[in-house]
């Protein structure tokens, strides 16, 4: 085995640039949590099974626990910390609160990332599309129903905000 070495890695996280020194075998998740200090992304299984570590890389949900940090260099990284706007939670975060979609909360950051990526490419997802988009995120508490409800109601709020709502009569 080679000896560990440290390298400078250039990361763009939630619009901010970082260039920390990191052991070159660290994962993106280890770098976010233990080097940069962004502990929102969770370390669950740490081997690709559960989705707790989901972050958005160039618009698509990825598992940061099995992404070598150097593979994330030069890409647009978004984590749960970057979802809220200035002084306001993201409408999906509000919807999670209003719908009781988080219990212990361990799966929540990963689910928010998967769901935000969905809502950004599809502002009126069907129940099936929501279930498919979240099919890589395990939750041991909620039974998922309230999570799907929250994504649906956030989609409605977002459509209203963009003024493109189809006004389906509520």
């Amino acid at each position: 085995m080679v000896k560990a070495t440290t390298c400078i890695v250039h990361l763009r996280v939630n619009g901010d640039d970082y260039a920390p020194g990191v052991p070159s075998h660290y994962t993106l998740l280890e770098t976010l949590r233990y080097v940069i200090g962004l502990t929102g992304s969770k370390q669950g299984c740490d081997k690709g099974d559960c989705g707790a570590c989901t972050v958005i890389l160039d618009g698509e949900p990825h598992l940061s626990c099995i992404t070598p940090v150097l593979a994330a260099e030069g890409r647009e990284i978004r984590t749960v910390e970057g979802l809220a706007g200035a002084g306001r939670p993201h409408p999906l975060q509000d919807a999670f609160d209003l719908n009781g979609a988080a219990q212990c909360g361990f799966c929540t950051p990963g689910i928010l990332c998967s769901a935000v990526a969905l809502l950004e490419r599809n502002d009126a997802p069907t129940r099936t599309e929501i279930r498919e988009a979240l099919a890589g995120n395990l939750c041991r508490c909620t039974g998922y129903t309230k999570i799907y409800d929250a994504v649906e109601s956030a989609a409605e709020v977002l459509r209203g905000q963009s003024g493109g709502g189809t006004g389906n009569g509520e």
Binding site: V2, H25, P61, L63, A71, A135, G136
Partner: protein, 333 residues
């Protein structure tokens, strides 16, 4: 927390550069694409390469293009892009279905077609942490000298567990391998070997650069079914890919079936032509094909579910796959 062993990470820009790096470090280097198989395996200390040669950023390994009578897909294209590509969906729906059923959404955004073809075989006694494997006593495939599945044999029977290869076999796909000795094309039907330790003709240091799939004739159909515990995330416990060409009358003029996730290589079912050629795909023919498949498949205790149950599911899954091939009313009996 599962830490990775130390390694150096290299990002070549061309296929030749990647092949050169792999050649330079020999057994101390491994290629990595999405890393969705290799990185968990490294966390389990199944592999401890000094050098990882990343392939996904190589422009020449990406893309979809028509080349005469075939579709050519870059080896580093992601499974998500294969599953949603319009031409794949229109001409090769069984491939889109198989790619779309691999793991979960995040893993399909990361994992690649080339990595899927080169997926390491899997076994209950192998895909475990070093601590777990040490506690039981290591096995033949890694660090030990017994097989916990067969107990007596000197052969590893870990299961080929990738979704797209059985489909690519029924579609007559070939892959291009690039290595220090140059490039070569291999038909996927000749690619896999019945050895769980290294189950293909790929030489270490060779990489899958592209996958070439001939466009089927107009009356060709293909289907894929996958058995697993949950409808997402899980590897197949058993999967079946089938393809057939039909005459205008609805009679079968070519048929092929591949079953996988049982042994080290996807199994090409034999004896099907004799049963089905020249006949429509009636219930009776489907039943005979399913029965024929059942006789050939003998799952082992290498997965988390009961082998007898998996065997009993062979004809069920084969029937489902074949029923999906029916050209509507023409062949129904």
């Amino acid at each position: 927390m599962l830490r990775l062993p130390p390694f150096r990470y290299h990002r070549p820009r061309t296929i030749d550069e990647a092949v050169g790096l792999l050649d330079r470090w020999g057994s101390r280097a491994l290629p990595v694409s999405g890393g969705t198989d290799l990185i968990p395996n490294m966390k389990h200390r199944l592999f401890t390469p000094d050098h990882l040669i990343a392939l996904k950023q190589i422009p020449d390994m990406r893309g979809f293009r028509r080349d005469g009578s075939a579709l050519v897909i870059g080896g580093a294209e992601t499974l998500a892009s294969v599953a949603r590509h319009p031409e794949v969906r229109r001409r090769f729906p069984s491939l889109a279905a198989a790619a779309g059923q691999v793991a979960g959404p995040q893993l399909r955004n990361m994992g690649t077609l080339g990595g899927n073809i080169c997926l390491d075989t899997r076994c209950t006694y192998y895909n475990q942490t070093e601590f777990w494997r040490d506690a039981l006593g290591y096995c033949l495939k890694k660090d030990g000298d017994v097989c916990h599945v067969t107990r007596v044999g000197k052969k590893c029977v870990a299961a080929h567990s990738a979704d797209t290869p059985p489909v690519l076999m029924t579609l007559g796909a070939t892959i291009e391998l690039a290595g220090p000795e140059g490039r070569r094309d291999v038909g996927l039907n000749d690619f896999f070997l019945a050895d769980g330790i290294w189950n293909s003709r790929r030489k270490p240091g060779e990489i899958v650069t592209r996958v070439r799939i001939p466009f089927p004739s107009r009356d060709s159909r293909a289907a894929y079914t996958k058995l697993r515990q949950r409808r997402s995330i899980d590897f197949p416990l058993l999967s079946v890919a089938v393809s057939a060409d039909f005459q205008r009358s609805g009679r079968v003029c070519q048929i092929m079936g591949v079953v996988t996730a049982l042994g080290a290589r996807p199994r090409l079912l034999t004896g099907w032509a004799r049963i089905a050629l020249g006949r429509p795909l009636s219930n009776e023919v489907i039943e005979a094909l399913a029965e024929r498949a059942h006789r050939q498949c003998h799952p082992l205790e290498n997965a988390i579910v009961d082998a007898d149950w998996r065997r009993a599911m062979v004809p069920v899954q084969v029937r489902l796959a074949l029923e999906a091939l029916r050209p509507s009313a023409a062949s129904a009996s």
